[in-house]
């Protein structure tokens, strides 16, 4: 009942991509699930896909996501599959420098080897675009890349993802999508003063999210989270950006939906919904109102 109903409505709300077959097609799907497009493309200025340049305002300064097209000079065309794997799984550049966690590798590290390889296979099929990277505009001490080493020492835990014993396959799939690929926690989990995720309040929302905006609590807490939402409500939001009252999300969540989550299969969206219903509810009021 839920599935048929939610899916029928969802089909009306957005177009739908089928299941991937070849490795590169599988990679294309993971690319959507990972939300790579919205950060690495300067959509607001009609920038070429994945050629970089989008500004990401954070409390530590402004980051400009780099060119990840296969252009040999300005993109990652000269990289090997191993370089790519190291970037996603360890947060290290081919020369061994630390990446800033504005690149959500603390989540991507949880990806399986197979998925990282498929993503790489897909990226190599894309058109190369020549577009030089813009340097980040950061405040001290974060301007010093080596400082990221300390951050990683404190907060970075290398993957890959390990399913919780006792979780059903469906909930494990949901956990993998939420934590490894779709990196929901990068926005929805509050951070401490050093910018490390507060794992005890996983997905409990924050008033200091990306672009200085607040991000709602999406744990199943009845009053302050989304405990009142049905699985169908969650699927609808991820597929179309419409909340249960049909008001739409805006800002960074709207981008995540439009360029990424809306492409996911119904099975995957239902898995995410089941997982979000299974995590511990946390009392943390973010939204205005009583």
């Amino acid at each position: 009942m839920l599935r048929a109903g939610a899916v029928a409505l969802v089909l009306i709300l957005a177009g739908h991509a089928g299941h991937a077959q070849t490795v590169a097609e599988r990679g294309a799907y993971l690319f959507r699930a990972g939300g790579c497009f919205s950060c690495h493309t300067d959509v607001a200025h009609d920038g070429a896909a994945l050629a970089g340049g989008r500004a990401l305002a954070t409390p530590f300064g402004t980051f400009y996501a780099p060119n990840i097209t296969p252009d040999r000079e300005t993109g990652i065309g000269a990289w090997s599959a191993a370089d790519f794997r190291r970037a996603l799984r360890e947060g290290l550049s081919p020369s061994g420098a630390h990446y800033y966690p504005a690149f959500p590798y603390p989540s991507y590290t949880l990806m399986s080897d197979e998925d990282v390889a498929a993503l790489w296979a897909y990226l190599t099929t894309l058109p190369a675009v020549r577009h030089a990277n813009r340097p980040h505009d950061l405040t001290l001490p974060f301007r010093v890349r080596a400082a990221v080493g300390l951050w990683k020492f404190l907060f970075f835990r290398a993957g890959p993802f390990q399913p919780e014993s006792g979780d059903s396959d469906e909930v494990s799939r949901g956990a993998y999508l939420v934590r490894a690929l779709a990196h929901c926690g990068e926005c929805h989990t509050p951070r401490n003063l050093l910018g490390g995720p507060d794992d005890d309040r996983f997905l409990a929302g924050t008033r200091d999210g990306p672009d200085g905006r607040s991000v709602p609590n999406i744990t199943p807490h009845a009053d302050t989270g989304i405990g009142g939402w049905s699985e169908g409500d969650i699927v609808q939001l991820l597929n179309s950006g419409l909340k249960p009252n049909f008001d739409n999300v805006q800002g960074s969540m709207a981008e995540s939906v439009r360029h990424g989550l809306a492409y996911l299969s119904d099975d995957d969206l239902i898995a995410i919904a089941r997982y979000l219903k299974a995590i511990p509810p946390i009392d943390n009021r973010i939204r205005r109102g009583p």
Binding site: L13, S240, N245
Partner: protein, 150 residues
């Protein structure tokens, strides 16, 4: 409790002159339009589970759907010139590009009228389709004319 709150608002909105008077006297256009938007959203939320097939078709569906259509006719009048400042998420673009704003409101009104038809017939499939269409018009207007929530 929830139903009562919606009832008061739709009752208020049912009388077009109440709204127009309130807007003209600038009683508090901002509060009023936010309450009306909230009321539209509450009616939509009441229909959502039926549209998704989570709750069976029931007797209040025509009323919710009809209320949305009636409220939709007043959206434009809730944004008088000079009410862009204060406790509001309305973007100044509304008054800079009034024709476009009116068009967004007209699209909503049209979709809401189809929703009222589907709701009136208590046709679950048609309701689902009409909700999807209305939902698109809400988002289309918000994306252009409402600031993202802080």
């Amino acid at each position: 409790m929830r139903i009562a709150a919606i009832g008061v608002l739709s009752g208020l909105a049912l009388s077009a002159s109440t709204l127009v008077t309130a807007a003209m006297a600038d009683v508090d256009s901002i509060k009023l339009r936010r309450a009306v938007m909230g009321s539209i959203a509450t009616h939509m939320g009441a229909l959502g589970p039926v549209a998704k097939g989570e709750v069976a078709m029931h007797d209040e569906v025509p009323w919710h759907a009809g209320s949305i259509a009636r409220l939709s006719a007043h959206v434009v009048s809730l944004f008088p010139e000079g009410t862009g400042e204060g406790d509001t998420d309305a973007k100044p673009e509304i008054w800079k590009d009034w024709a476009k704003f009116e068009e967004a409101a007209a699209n909503f009104e049209k979709a809401a009228s189809a929703l009222a038809d589907a709701g009136g017939k208590k046709d679950q499939a048609a309701l689902g389709a009409a909700m999807g269409e209305v939902g698109k018009t809400c988002g289309a207007c918000h994306d252009l004319f409402r600031k993202p929530q802080q």
